[in-house]
């Protein structure tokens, strides 16, 4: 009995500490919504910042008391960096520098460090537009590496790629979707070897996968495909087209796909039934998020639109100070978003028409999606990483 209680308390401690982690692009379950009880609140200010030696629009991720971030430097952005900083004070704990084995060409606005790394809580998986993939433990030990363009020589996009990987169980799912050799692979997190490799639609794609009821949902111009993460087998398929930049939002019961506006799906094995479609909800570059009984979409004009989760009907619109490349994230009643011009904005969604209640001028170009952990928000530019608290 004593042993059982000890195990139970260990589990509770582990569970609550994990709740503060932000392990991937758009955090827990790629939902963009923090699940921790201590929200950053509205009046955040710069707690610390550190200089970065290279470019990047990947988001920071947070595991326990460590912040991880990638960047790329050098004339062709061929030097690939992974940093680990102390969340408490921004002290550098370790840095690893590797070289791209794949193509580093990218549009000037993006960079080689575009995909956000992800973690299973014990390992960091850092992916780059060059298709280089590195697995480290939290102390910086190299566990394995891959060069997916080294393996599959036409898997690249001359504009750059940005799909962020996701971990589901003990499989890392990586998309390398492009006009030529378009693939997705499921990789064993322990060895770095393929569990499966599947052809994907031959078309450029910058979206990231979401996880829904144990399936990994891969978005493309063709639609959204639910796959068994362990085998790559298709479990359901929505084929009515979807965006190739903003990714889907996911809740326990549905997926909200940037498709013909936003289309709400309730996929089950063999079918992806449609709940509703709202053609007026048009995500720009940023992905939608679901908070409470509403969906929030940031359109291409920098207007945040609140819609009903029941039918997509519009509730209010709030013009923010854009333009935006990153996606909004949320904790409690607040949405956090940073503009390309460095205007960090906090939106109170409980205000009647929504209201920007706080701003922080970061005076730099920011293209990233924020991360939330332990009551703080993290953002980055090509030059700096900030902690706002």
């Amino acid at each position: 009995m004593k042993l059982a209680l000890t195990l139970l308390s260990s589990f509770v401690i582990l569970h609550s500490s994990l709740a503060a982690d932000w392990l991937q692009f758009r955090g827990p379950n790629a939902s963009a919504v923090s699940t921790e009880t201590v929200a950053p609140g509205p009046k955040v200010a710069i707690d610390w910042s550190v200089d970065l030696p290279g470019r990047g629009l990947s988001s920071p991720i947070v595991v326990g008391d460590k912040v991880f971030i990638t960047c790329s430097s050098g004339p062709d952005q061929a030097s690939l960096h992974v940093f680990c900083f102390s969340a408490a004070d921004g002290k550098k704990l370790w840095e690893r520098v590797m070289k791209a084995t794949g193509r580093t060409m990218a549009h000037n606005k993006t960079s080689v460090a575009a995909p956000t790394p992800c973690s299973d809580g014990e390992r960091i998986f850092a992916l780059y537009s060059s298709n280089d993939l590195f697995a480290f433990d939290l102390a910086g030990n190299l566990l394995w590496l891959r060069g997916l363009t080294y393996d599959y020589s036409n898997a690249s996009n001359s504009l750059g790629m940005s799909s962020s990987p996701v971990v589901v169980g003990d499989t890392l799912v990586v998309q390398s979707e492009n006009d030529s050799e378009s693939i997705a692979v499921g990789i064993d997190v322990a060895t770095g070897k393929n569990r499966w490799k599947k052809e994907r639609p031959k078309a450029a794609n910058w979206t990231s996968a979401v996880v829904f009821k144990g399936t990994v949902a891969l978005q493309s111009s063709k639609g959204l495909t639910g796959m068994n993460p362990k085998t790559g087998e298709i479990e359901w398929d929505y084929t009515d087209g979807a965006a190739t930049i903003p990714s889907s939002a996911v809740t326990e019961n549905a997926i909200y796909v940037p498709s013909n506006g936003v289309t709400a799906l309730a996929p089950e094995k063999g079918a992806a039934s449609q709940l509703w479609r709202a053609s007026g909800l048009k995500p720009g570059t940023g992905s939608p998020l679901v908070l409470g009984d509403s969906i929030y979409v940031l359109n291409g004009a920098g207007v945040l639109v609140k819609g009903s989760l029941n039918n997509g009907d519009e509730a209010w619109k709030l013009r923010l100070k854009g333009p935006f490349s990153g996606s909004p994230v949320a904790a409690g009643q607040f949405i956090y978003i940073v503009s390309e011009r460095g205007d960090f904005q906090v939106v109170d969604i409980t205000a009647k028409e929504g209201e920007v209640i706080h701003r922080v001028e970061l005076k730099d170009t920011l293209l990233c999606t924020p991360a939330i952990s332990n009551g703080a928000v993290y953002v980055r530019s090509d030059k700096k990483l900030w902690k706002l608290k």
Binding site: T101, R146, G147, D151, S158, K193, N194
Partner: protein, 367 residues
Amino acid sequence: MKIPALTGLLFTSSLPAASLTQPLADIRAVAKEGGGNEKATAAWQQLTQADPGTLPEVLAGMNGANPLAENWLRAAIGVIADQAMEAKKLPIEAVQTFLMDTKNSAAPRVVAFDIIQRAQPELAEKITPKLLEDPSSELRRHPVSKLTNAGNEALEQGKKDAALTAFQQAMKGARDEDQIKDLAKKLKDLGQPVDLPKHFGFLMDWKLIAPFTNVERKGFDTVFPPEEKIDLAAVYPGKNGDAKWTDFTSKDDYGQIDFNKPFTMLKEVTGYAYTEFESTEEREAQIRLGCKNGWKVWLNGELLFARDEYHRGAKLDQYKLPAKLKKGKNQILVKCCQDAQTESWTVEWQFQLRVCDDTGTAILAAK
């Protein structure tokens, strides 16, 4: 799944050189699709416990390694160097000796220079001028940058001749486009224009034939007559009538071979470009291509690479294709496909191609 405890960074124990043979071999054995990863993980742990004095040996382990193994070793060397610097045991002279020995591969020599730059920046500064003719284009960047800065300073002081000398020296060593572009402009402003096609080694004189069809992008995989036989006198049925070979000489500083010029701005078409390259010897080389259309390149009838991506961007040296030149005449055939897109940024139907060594130094044709 929990990962096994890794102790590499926790211990300061160090391995003697003899024990590095196996871990280096295990890492050098890594292959595509994660091949050899398990052994490499353990080997990496062993290497990162190595005595700092073994740093040159680990650097030498990168010689001739494949790019994946290079990265494994690059990360290990980073850890060993960090530990050595912290313990003030960095074998800086041995690292410098490794750097200056050009028989070592370019990749570990770059790592060696980076270590010196971090540990003793003043020593790196002292070494820099010696790297102007280095086999590594990455190492050349440092002296080129230094000379360019010296030229800029001389210019600010009104010392035009000194500036010209510095820029010309820098240009001689420069292999990267950004530095070459900058220097070419400075030299042109000083009345000394640079022959950029010669500096890069662009092939400027071609025979072109078009248009064959590329409706629904099917032309990319269709074998049209020029792929079967080069007959410069032949006339073939094309997409819009007869297709025949025509001479084309590029006037572009960056060697663009523009199908739109002789054939007009067509869509859903395929063209071919053919040239001959006279090599003074049999040798390893690179054919470097920049192209935003679908393309294939053959050297002496052998397909080097093919890519069916359209209008995502092009740049100099976008694709580096290893090639083996034979002594005498070498036949180069390029297939260039245009798609159906009609946006203003999809007009280009062109490529640029140069022949060089793996440093990017132009290999010029014998005639």
